[in-house]
Amino acid sequence: MSSSALLELNQIVKSFPGVKALKGVGFSVTSGEVHGLVGENGAGKSTIIKILMGVHQKDSGSIKLEGKEVIIENVIQAGRLGLAAVYQDLNLAMDLSIGENFFIGSLPRKKNGFVNWKYIYEETEKTLNDLNIKVDPKKKISELSAAMQEMVAIAKTVHRNAKLIIFDEPTALLTNEEVEILFNIIATLKKRGVSIIYISHRLEEIFRVCDRVTIFKDGEFVDSLDVKETSEDDLINKMVGRNITEMYNIGHQKCGDEVLSVKNLSRIGHFKNISFNVHSGEIFGFFGLVGSGRTEIVRTIFGADKLSGGKMELKGRKYIPKSPIEAIKNGIGLLPENRKEQGLALALSVKHNINLSSYRDINKFSFVDKKEENKRADTYIDKMAIKTPSSRQLVINLSGGNQQKVVIGKWLCNDSSIFIFDEPTVGIDVGAKREIYILMEELAASGKAVILISSYLPEVMGIADKIAVIYEGNMMAIVDKKDFSEELILKHASGIK
């Protein structure tokens, strides 16, 4: 290891009941380096970060910081050692303002001992401005979109002036614009000599920002490489153990009958006059910037929110869902964008969650058909390659990506004819992403319709047949596959016709 290593991790082992998450891994980070960390879902990336931050305690192994061995017992201590992290699971206090979240745990005081609100908001505003994030620091976190919350969490961590900052999948919820902002932030930090550990499933990002990259697989160390000496395919191979050549190859034949027609759909304050048609066998994409209203549109179609105007037809029949129950009865399934708040019952088992929307089908006189329940759970654990010791494991104990797979499993399990996927690949590793794309293709090929919302442009462009571009609640255009170009879509997405 190089002598200028800021951080050295050696032979770290960590077990959870039923899972050996880390089987003796290690890598080193030098000062001012951006160090990538990649691996499949459940490989142990978040776990090592949490050990580093004192959230979990390692079973064995050593951590050296600036050459000195340290034992990190809690988060406060990690902070004192100059470590900071943006976690995969956002850790913001939802009822508090952005400013308060910035200073949470160390609120500045005035001379008289009272909280110095002026300082808090001025300082927060300054930091946000510096980082090019445009939001009022007095706003409550719960009023922000998921992406903005992520940006706030990033800004908050940067503001801490740490020696080493860890980003655990920071871009999962971001669109291009914010991703660019983030990369600028990282560049600035690097110039200041701050070291960074960067975890992502978007490999091209690793090549853009990282100097070196470490690969984990199944809790084991695979390799540490200079990014200049490797390639995307090489990384994938090392992560997954096989080559994935074509990420987005669409094999299905599109276009059957029209299944969903939406005319002038409006919801006051969120979107207006949205019209489009979806056909069976089609993958219909939505793209737009953060807060453009895509989520709101599909939630309304799903009956989760009330519409204030417009018409919808399902296979030619009039359709005005009053609740998700009706939508589901009509064969519509919605994978929500926020798995923790809307998708999962975290305290319950994987089995229970996978079957959550299917119990109406798998019962005899309303007694749960346990055989079928188990069968379905096992089927989708298998199909989605969910990494879990058993179907009885609580979802809260799964890695982020595996949690996402559970939600997808739930909707596959509940056989629908129109699948709406809102940011389905958030936090999902490359291998599994490919599986999900194949799965969507299979769905489309079997005559179902798929609506895909994604903030990740390559993804929508890669697999959608059409892309509807939304800007501030307005439909800017519906672009056909043949006309797809990054430039055009981004232009529409920023409000230019």
Partner: protein, 317 residues
């Protein structure tokens, strides 16, 4: 049996610690009071626990769903007064009890409507019901006991079947039905999902409106059963019947492992919780402890049991 013991040892059975605590308590009491383990005292014990035990079962549904029901005592009072007034008025017993069950269940469903459709926090909704229902009871009964109930009805609670009090069998029936509902049925699954994450439950197509009505209705229903049992046991309709039961019932469920933030709780745990509290009181009475010291001990022991339970759970992790 061996499997059960192993499960307890490995800390796998959620209720394991509670069973151990209960056993420890029973051994201690048996040593200090020779009367404790007599058939007669055991009969007393289960009889005394049955009524609050029934209420606690309904409460467990509500708590698993993430709610709370403060109105159980008042609805129990409604059941006591309604059933006794009808029977004292000469109505056929079966019909009177049926009407009582229906009325109490409706009151429970009203709680559900206020919570779901009115978006009122369960604490306030059921606090309102607690106040209002007690007012109704007092109004219709003129705040007086109702006497003159048919002997065949009042005898019921005195009966024993194969040596155990009839009340116990009613409780057992309620336990079994509730156990089946929570572990074997779709409603049970949905209940846990709803308690764990209401929004996810809604977006998964669970009919959370009906579920909420069912949950609070079930609590009203168990209150009716408890109210009827109490009326039979006390041979009178009692307008104050059930006052303060909300805390006892919640305590039984929470001691039994239910979480007031929803998503967690078991019927067996609640039964054990109810027994634990009852045994502490019964033991104290048998030992002839000064009532105030007994009161202090009850408080301390409930806290201690839960604390030990938490410790063991944490250490088995």
């Amino acid at each position: 049996m061996k499997k059960l013991i192993n499960k307890i040892k490995e800390g796998k059975l959620a209720e394991g610690n509670l069973i151990l605590i209960l056993i420890a308590l029973i051994i201690i009491l048996a040593i200090f009071s020779p009367k404790f383990l007599t058939a007669n005292n055991i009969r007393n014990l289960v009889r005394q626990t049955s009524i609050i035990g029934v209420v606690a079962i309904g409460m467990t549904f509500v708590i698993i769903s993430g709610g709370i029901d403060l109105s159980v005592g008042s609805i129990l009072g409604v059941a006591s007064i309604v059933s006794s007034m009808l029977m004292a008025g000469g109505m056929n017993i079966g019909l009177a009890l049926l009407i009582t069950l229906v009325i109490s269940t409706i009151l429970g469903v009203v709680n559900g409507i206020i919570v779901f459709d009115g978006k009122v926090p369960p604490f306030i909704a059921t606090l309102g019901m607690m106040t209002a229902a007690r007012g109704i009871v007092m109004l219709v009964s003129d705040a007086r006991m109702i006497a003159g109930l048919p002997k065949s009805f009042t005898n019921f609670a005195q009966k024993t079947i194969i040596g155990l009090p009839s009340l116990f069998f009613v409780w057992l029936l309620v336990i079994i039905v509730a156990y089946i509902i929570t572990t074997q049925t779709v409603i049970g699954r949905n209940l846990f999902a709803f308690g764990s994450n209401p929004e996810a439950a809604r977006l998964s197509g669970i009919n959370i409106r009906m579920l909420t009505y069912f949950i609070y209705g079930a609590s009203g229903f168990t209150c009716a059963i408890a109210g009827i049992l109490m009326t039979s046991r006390l041979s009178n309709g009692i307008p104050t019947a059930g006052s303060g039961y909300e805390l006892d019932a919640i305590a039984a469920a929470v001691v039994g492992g239910a979480s007031l933030s929803g998503g967690a709780g078991t019927i067996v745990g609640t039964v054990l919780g109810a027994l634990l509290i009852a045994i502490i009181r019964n033991g104290g009475n048998l030992l002839g402890i000064n009532p105030f010291i007994l009161q202090i001990s009850v408080g301390v022991l409930i806290v201690a049991s839960v604390m030990i339970d938490q410790r063991r759970k944490a250490s088995s992790k």
